[in-house]
Symmetry: C2
Amino acid sequence: MYVTLVEVQVKPDRVDDFIRESALNHAGSIQEPGNLRFDILQSPDDPTRFILYEAYATEADAAAHKQTAHYARWREAVADWMAAPRRGVRWNGLYPRVGSS
Amino acid sequence: MYVTLVEVQVKPDRVDDFIRESALNHAGSIQEPGNLRFDILQSPDDPTRFILYEAYATEADAAAHKQTAHYARWREAVADWMAAPRRGVRWNGLYPRVGSS
């Protein structure tokens, strides 16, 4: 699995907007070929902190995500709602054994 | 979803052992009631760094994991292989909408 953890810090007055737009991105992303997870996580300690946990079978599947309309909409919608630049960290998914790692 | 990200730093000469034991823990954990993910991630930049991405429908399901034989075996097996204490960070899984958040 080709995994990316995207860490996001959202402006406090935009948390609800961010969740709404990210839910749309989630709904589109889980329909993509090769998508295995697109989980939206919120910190119980700080509700302005989120992780998007994105897992695809292959790197090519993950790259194709960036070409979708739902990703483009999300990226544009949330750009001004972030309190800091988002940070994506790559991981190799060893288990479950799906696709490349 | 009740999510825990467990960050682990393994001693370099124990990486293969850690993967083998964690694979057994994975195989047992995905059979548990309420388990949604038990993903084992390795850093492409530093192969001694791992994340266990554990998602359960409810907090009770996650607590039950700690009572299983495969968890007890894993915890004991890997204890001396860690270069630093492991760190579990809690997250509320908003999407997919499964169980409590």
